[in-house]
């Protein structure tokens, strides 16, 4: 897909796609699917089955399942609930998958409409758990330790993906208004917005300070932005949010203005990348199955293809075309069976490509030896496993084609499991 040039010295230079045309817009004509599916951030339980009956009708923008812990989502469509199932996602996180049979006519929820012009810190958490581009906006604004800095991502952090850029270019006014609303919802010292050189200019009028980033991967990963532009380090094993910096997609901020205008935030900007690698930005109703998106764009899939929810370096492959586009699905990537480069079981030859590619200075060559043998605690203690910022470059450059990134994620998960077990036993 993205190959190394014949002559190349030093580390790979992977360029983000930069939208040249300043007003590329979105393809918006995709029809409403008959059935949409969304995931509630909770494992399926009797309590949920009690609260959400099959056959219950929901309206567009309505809060669905509002329990005492405040878990809920905003229904993206009008229709009736047709099934509830447990869904196990990445790293074994359990969700409840809620399928809704849609009705062609949208009926907008009155409660959400009443928020128009009246968004405040009090009501936002109660009505905006999910926004396009942010699957958990509620915990973004209601925090035990509030953020001191917020960075709005006006450019996507993965290769080939340009959905956020398209939002910045196509919905500039919504975005600038959204930033004003965001400053009302949360009180932070600094708000920044990242953008590529081409689109940075139109953001200068806004209330957020513009960070113009180089379009070279992995410049846009939160840890890299913090290191290079905010001059702050995320401690190993923690996320940017633990260090007091919140990262949020530009699309979610723009959606705040939609709510303020009385519209339900139900469409997600998605970059669809077909088998030839050409990308198209499209606005999709949240919950739409991937197969409907692909068939609308005339992208055919065959046995043995790979479909990825997200970009080529950080996405997650999906095993069914019924998997929906959700609040944080930035891209759908389709790869032909012949283009898939599979991993191999060669041992590490110690060539050092990964060490030079790693933006976090992790000694990957040593780390992978420990991870292959399941020595997760030693890997974390001696070989900086927890410093990994999950960019995937180590697997990308590996001459032996070891699934290094996979090993590291497995190692991190197992290590955290071990540690939480120890803590609960102590």
């Amino acid at each position: 897909m993205i190959k190394k040039p014949f002559f190349s010295i030093g580390t790979p230079k992977l360029k983000y796609p930069v939208i040249k045309d300043l007003n590329p817009g979105f393809e918006e004509g995709i029809p409403l699917s008959e059935m949409v599916t969304v995931y509630l951030n909770k494992p399926c339980s009797p309590a949920i089955e009690e609260a959400l009956k099959i056959g219950d009708s929901v309206k567009t923008g309505q809060r669905v399942y509002y329990d005492n812990e405040g878990s809920y989502f905003l229904s993206p469509v009008t229709g009736t609930i047709s099934s509830l199932e447990e869904y196990i996602g990445y790293l074994g996180v359990k969700y409840t998958s809620v399928s809704i049979k849609t009705e062609p006519e949208d009926q907008e929820d009155e409660e959400l409409k009443e928020l128009s012009g009246k968004l405040s810190a009090d009501n936002a958490a109660d009505f905006l758990a999910t926004l396009p581009g942010c699957s958990d906006f509620k915990s973004f604004i209601k925090r035990k330790y509030p953020f001191d800095t917020i960075v709005i991502e006006g450019a996507d952090d993965d290769l080939l993906v340009s959905a956020s850029q398209a939002v910045v270019d196509g919905q500039t006014e919504d975005l600038l208004e959204g930033i004003k609303i965001l400053t009302k919802l949360v009180s932070v010292k600094n708000i920044f917005i990242t953008a590529f050189p081409g689109s940075a200019q139109k953001l200068y009028d806004g209330e957020a300070r513009v960070i113009t980033v180089d379009p070279v991967y992995p410049e846009l990963l939160p840890e890299m932005i913090m290191k290079k532009y905010l001059k702050r380090t995320v401690p190993a094993g923690q996320k940017a949010e633990d260090a007091g910096v919140g990262f949020i997609r530009a699309e979610a901020v723009a959606a705040l203005n939609l709510v303020n205008k009385g519209e339900a935030p139900v469409k997600k900007a998605v970059t669809v990348i077909d088998k030839t690698g050409s990308a198209k930005n499209i606005k999709v109703r949240i919950g739409t199955p991937v197969k409907d998106v692909l068939s609308y764009l005339n992208i055919e899939t065959a046995h043995g293809d790979r479909i990825v929810s997200g970009g080529p370096l950080k996405g997650q492959s999906i095993y069914s075309e019924d998997t929906p586009v959700l609040w944080d699905t930035d891209a759908v990537l389709v790869q032909a069976a012949g283009d898939i480069s599979s991993c191999q079981d060669n041992p590490c030859i110690n060539c050092g490509e990964c060490v030079r590619a790693c933006p976090a200075n992790v000694p990957v060559n040593m780390l992978v030896r420990l991870l292959e043998n399941g020595l997760y605690e030693e890997a974390a203690r001696e070989y900086d496993m927890l410093s990994c910022i999950e960019c995937g470059l180590c697997s990308y450059v590996c001459v032996s084609r070891i699934p290094v990134f996979h090993y590291i994620m497995l190692g991190k998960t197992e290590y955290l499991k071990l540690r939480s077990m120890e803590e609960s036993n102590a």
């Binding site: 993205i2 190959k3 190394k4 014949f6 002559f7 190349s8 010295i9 030093g10 790979p12 290769l159 840890e223 290191k227 380090t233 995320v234 401690p235 190993a236 094993g237 923690q238 007091g244 899939t301 046995h303 043995g304 293809d305 790979r306 990825v308 997200g310 080529p312 370096l313 996405g315 999906i318 095993y319 075309e321 069976a337 060669n346 041992p347 590490c348 030859i349 110690n350 060539c351 050092g352 490509e353 060490v355 933006p359 976090a360 200075n361 992790v362 000694p363 060559n365 040593m366 900086d384 910022i389 697997s395 990308y396 450059v397 001459v399 032996s400 084609r401 699934p403 990134f405 996979h406």
Partner: protein, 322 residues
């Protein structure tokens, strides 16, 4: 069920830069072709026979070990062929057949497979084999003795042998031009001067080797030889002579850069190269062996794990958020 469309699922990332062990091995073989061709034109068909026989036997030993240890067949990755080629490049063209079989056994079985195969060898396999042969069969590895029946149109004695036996005076008989263009006695592919540099340059541009190790090694050789030369010009040869003779150039570009036995971080690579360069000249100038490159390389190979402990601080290590 048979007609069902199934998708391939895996963990990120979903693209690869296209490199592979096999491609890397073939590139190394390609990079050494010019030097080998120069060797064959110098030593005729006998040299070709040595190269072919040792590459074949290296692969046979690999296959035998794969079968014996019930491991997947790994000769397809080309690493055994590379080891055989490197071994042949350092041997004289008249090497007897049994030496090649023993040498490739030492390289592939003792040097690589018993440690666990590719990537697990602590020492460069081909260098290890040469070292054992040099200690065990002095006559076979003595270029003056091995190449005695050849008629060359240049000054034929092995330059480093002359230096060791007769001192610096005789080195005047060698012109730098001849040494640089490969007109000297020595191993099949290790005495080709310019063509080895060309191969090294190719490997560097393709991203297979790093500039740090060859550069540091050559600087190490140059500076140490220069110091000796300045201290006592009538006793020690000049730095250029040391760089263009013996195994120096093949060592710099093909042997020291072997992945498994060399470090990966910047400072360790520099130290690794410098140390090898200094040791090479020390052994040549004050040791008993004609060419110390082989032992210098083995020595720094053993220092590799220690050197690679010098690594940059990982992102966020030791940082705490209050």
């Amino acid at each position: 069920m048979l007609n069902q469309k199934l998708l391939v699922s895996s963990h990120a990332p979903f693209c690869h830069n296209g490199t592979s062990i096999r491609g890397r091995s073939y590139d190394i073989i390609l990079a050494s072709v010019p030097a080998v061709i120069v060797g064959i034109s110098k030593f005729h068909a006998a040299a070709l026979a040595v190269v072919a026989f040792s590459m074949a036997w290296a692969m046979i030993w690999e296959l035998i070990m794969n079968k014996a240890m019930k491991r997947p067949i790994s000769i397809g990755d080309g690493n055994a062929a590379v080891i055989g080629l490197m071994f042949a490049m350092m041997m004289p063209a008249t090497t007897p057949w049994w030496t090649i079989i023993i040498g490739t056994f030492l390289a592939v079985v003792i040097g690589k497979q018993i440690f666990g195969g590719i990537g697990c060898n602590p020492l460069n396999p081909a260098v290890l084999a040469i070292a054992v042969l040099m200690l065990s069969w002095k006559g076979v590895m003595n270029f003056d003795q091995a190449l005695v029946n050849y008629e060359f149109d240049f000054f034929a004695p092995n330059p480093l042998g002359q230096l060791k036996s007769f001192g610096v005076l005789l080195t005047g008989a060698y012109s730098t031009h001849d040494l640089f263009w490969g007109m000297q006695a020595g191993g099949i592919g290790s005495s080709s001067g310019f063509w080895l540099i060309l191969g090294g340059l190719y490997l560097f541009l393709r991203g297979h080797i790093r500039w740090e190790i060859p550069a540091a090694f050559l600087i190490g050789v140059f500076v140490t030889a220069l110091i000796f030369n300045i201290a006592s010009p009538e006793e020690y040869a000049g730095p250029v002579f040391h760089i263009l003779t013996g195994y120096t150039l093949i060592g710099a570009f093909f042997l020291l850069t072997e992945e498994s036995s060399s470090p990966v971080n910047f400072l360790p690579m520099i130290l690794f190269g410098l140390l090898a360069g200094v040791m090479t000249v020390l052994m040549r100038n004050i040791g008993v062996y004609i060419d110390g490159t082989i032992y210098a390389i083995l020595l720094v190979n053993t220092a590799n794990p220690l050197l690679d402990k010098i690594k940059p601080k990982a992102l966020g290590k030791g940082a705490y958020y209050a």
